[in-house]
């Protein structure tokens, strides 16, 4: 290669890889239902294997370019973690049943253990995730987790949610900035004003929706009942109120996903790996909210059986709107050396339904 060519290659425009999910609803349905049946038949023991198969299915079908992600956790470690989590829960319940005051030491220990749970959970999942044979890692420390997951949320509640957006920002920065891929750091940053703008927009949306609902009720009362003289329990008035409240309920349900998606976009679009590779996120808050809410109803009306399709549907959309702009090759990336890790923290965390992800 001549030096001119080398310089050209050096300057080559970054390549954009759009993420792609290649799994299908019917394929995942079969995996889900068989693993669920096996979990029921084994009284829950198989759930550790079911979890690994589910994660492997979703990671293994998520492609960046020609390569998929991969999930490596050992079901046995997860089983041990779950057993410990369940034992702790039973211990807490039983001692609390004797005397509620016995529950206090448990809660105290849980409070102190919480930052540790956050870190070990994130670390377990990161270290068991790979792309092109290279593992991720999570490097958060106890005090950093304490500040992001305990101090900030308390500040958020204590200020009647005035500081909640700032707390969310602290959590997102903690999450992203402590992940590494092959030892290279992820980094994101955005100003508090960016996130406050999103929450203000959400508040505005809420006020508009509430005003629209109030106007609808007013119109119902004054036009249908008073002007047309319909009885308040007649079919027309009843149906009109019902339609009004169902619509309002749907819109209010969509508020959460809308805000979450906007924050996610903000955080991801500022994320850079190794100071070179940029993440691009173009998820439409409205579409995500629509998929989430309609999924919820479809799952409800099918008594849960639509769940696999719902999950694949959301994942498809999310991956399609995510891309990585790679500036140069990652051929020289290599996994850091670290020992395998127990799943205790992760499983205690997920057993008590903490959701640490973004």
């Amino acid at each position: 290669m001549s030096s001119a060519e080398a310089a050209a290659a050096e300057k080559a425009a970054p390549t954009v890889y759009t993420l792609e999910f290649r799994g299908t609803g019917s394929e995942y349905f079969r995996i889900w239902i068989v693993n669920l049946a096996l979990t029921i038949l084994t009284l829950g023991v198989f759930s550790a294997w079911a979890k690994v198969r589910t994660w492997r299915y979703f990671y293994g079908n998520t492609f960046i370019g020609d390569h998929s992600l991969d999930y490596h956790a050992s079901p046995w470690r997860i089983l041990i973690g779950r057993t410990i989590a369940v034992s702790l829960f039973i211990g807490y319940e039983v001692s609390g049943a004797f005397d509620p005051s016995y529950a206090l030491p448990w809660l105290l220990v849980a409070g102190f253990a919480f930052p540790w749970l956050v870190n070990s959970s994130l670390r377990f999942n990161a270290r068991n995730t790979s792309y092109r044979n290279v593992r991720l890692n999570f490097t958060g420390r106890y005090f950093e987790a304490l500040i992001a997951f305990v101090i900030w949320p308390i500040a958020g509640i204590a200020t009647f949610f005035l500081l909640e957006p700032a707390a969310r920002r602290a959590r997102d920065l903690f999450f992203t900035n402590h992940h590494t891929f092959g030892g290279r750091p992820f980094h994101t940053d955005f100003t508090p004003w960016n996130i406050y703008a999103i929450y203000l927009f959400g508040l505005l949306l809420f006020v508009v929706l509430a005003a629209a609902l109030a106007a609808g009720v007013w119109a119902n009362f004054h036009i249908l009942e008073k002007a047309h003289g319909l009885a308040s329990n007649s079919f027309v008035v009843g149906a009109s109120y019902a339609a009004l409240f169902v619509a309002a309920y749907l819109f209010f349900l969509m508020l959460g996903p809308i805000i979450n998606t906007m924050v996610l976009n903000l955080s991801l679009n500022n994320t850079v790996l190794d100071a070179r590779h940029k993440i691009l996120s173009d998820m439409s808050p409205l579409v995500v909210a629509w998929i989430t809410v309609s999924n919820g109803f479809l799952v409800l009306f099918t008594l849960g059986f639509f769940y696999p399709w719902a999950r694949v549907r959301l994942r498809r959309y999310e991956t399609r709107k995510l891309a990585i702009m790679m500036d140069g090759s990652i051929d020289d990336y290599a996994s850091e050396a670290f020992g395998t890790q127990s799943a205790v923290g992760e499983e205690i965390g997920s057993f008590f339904a903490f959701d640490f992800g973004l």
């Binding site: 079969r30 049943a97 092109r132 044979n133 290279v134 989430t292 999924n295 799952v299 769940y307 020289d332």
Partner: protein, 348 residues
């Protein structure tokens, strides 16, 4: 020979490669022009379990990794060396429509059985095991919340209060917890209007508006007996436990809370719960009928009062179909209570 790609130890760098098992003992990875890239005893290689169409991974002891999309080829190669890749049987179950159909059946039946028998049974056990101190604490909190938001001080005359207390004591004497097990509290109903409700620790609140609608002693005794039955069965606590068990179960079944979270968890919770509490109302009505008969009254009078309350609140046509509300349709309840009168005549 299986085609795929080989990743160098711990590295993202890869080349197209082929894998073969040599003499049933060793896995050898070669580049396409037959240069040896890696080799290791088969027993030291971690082979990932087959799952859907995702790539199969052969993790070498040195951190290298051979990856192939040819799942059938990989299985053939392993079978030739009598090596099982774990969980192959799960994959076969997942690909057979017969086991999928069986699983749907099993999951459906298990889910149904758990919703119909499991959750109420667990909630009942938990509710009856709940220490009195917790019931009291919860009742205190509920009372504070209600007093702050809806209820007002009672304006009932002393003579009415005395009469209500006397009737209350008469009913309580016939109930399992006895005279000291229940406490009557008077409140102005505010926007709640005519109503009565029970708290887990035995406190029963009656609004002034309800008292004003009562036409005879049997009616209000019926109300007291109904509310005492809620206390006896710890219905309030059961409702709290059911409320937390339903979403917990859904989370377990779907395997994760985050994905479809909010809706699919909350909505069925509400629907299932209102079905459960309808059963509570029926049970309380039935118990009340027995108590009222035992002290020489007519359960039908409670039915009359219920009907009158609904007529006042919603007009003659009723408030709505029964599946919408937590209480069964009033006309059905009144009918049932009236039939309890004849039950008395049959077996005096």
């Amino acid at each position: 020979m299986v085609d795929g790609r080989y990743f160098f130890p711990h590295s993202a760098r890869f080349v197209p490669a082929r894998a073969a098992i040599i003499g049933r003992k060793a896995l050898r990875i070669e580049s396409l022009d037959a240069v040896m890239l890696d080799e290791a005893p088969l027993r030291d290689v971690r082979v990932s379990a087959r799952l859907g169409r995702i790539a199969r991974r052969f993790e070498m002891p040195n951190g290298g990794c051979f990856e192939t999309d040819d799942n059938d080829g990989a299985d053939d190669m392993l079978r030739g060396a009598r090596r099982h890749s774990g969980q192959g049987w799960v994959d076969r179950l997942e690909r057979s429509w017969r086991t999928v159909a069986l699983s749907v059946l099993l999951a459906g039946l298990a889910g149904y059985a758990f919703a119909v028998w499991g959750i109420p049974a667990i909630a009942a056990v938990l509710a009856l095991d709940t220490p009195a101190s917790i019931s009291k604490m919860m009742s205190d909190q509920t009372m504070v919340a209600l007093d702050g938001a809806y209820l007002q001080p009672s304006k009932l005359a002393a003579k009415d209060r005395d009469k209500a207390l006397a009737l209350f004591a008469r009913v309580a004497a016939a109930e399992p917890h006895g005279k000291n097990g229940y406490h009557l509290m008077f409140r102005g109903g505010g926007i709640i209007g005519p109503n009565a409700f029970a708290l887990p620790d035995g406190r029963i609140v009656m609004t002034d508006e309800l008292w004003k609608m009562v036409k005879n002693d049997d009616e209000i005794e019926g109300v007291f007996a109904h509310e005492m039955a809620h206390v006896n069965h710890a219905h309030g606590l059961q409702r709290v436990y059911e409320a937390s068990l339903v979403p917990a179960t859904i989370a377990v079944v779907t395997g994760d809370v985050s994905q479809v979270s909010q809706l699919s968890v909350i909505l069925p919770g509400i629907l299932v719960q209102s079905a459960y509490s309808r059963e509570f109302e029926q049970q309380a009505d039935d118990d009340a009928a027995v108590t009222i008969r035992s002290i020489g009254g007519h359960p039908s009078h409670l039915g009359d009062l219920l009907q009158r309350m609904e007529d006042k609140l919603c007009g003659k046509e009723g408030c709505g179909p029964s599946w919408l509300g937590s209480h069964p349709q009033t006309s059905i309840r009144a009918e049932r209570l009236r039939s309890e009168d004849t039950a008395k005549k049959k077996q005096p």
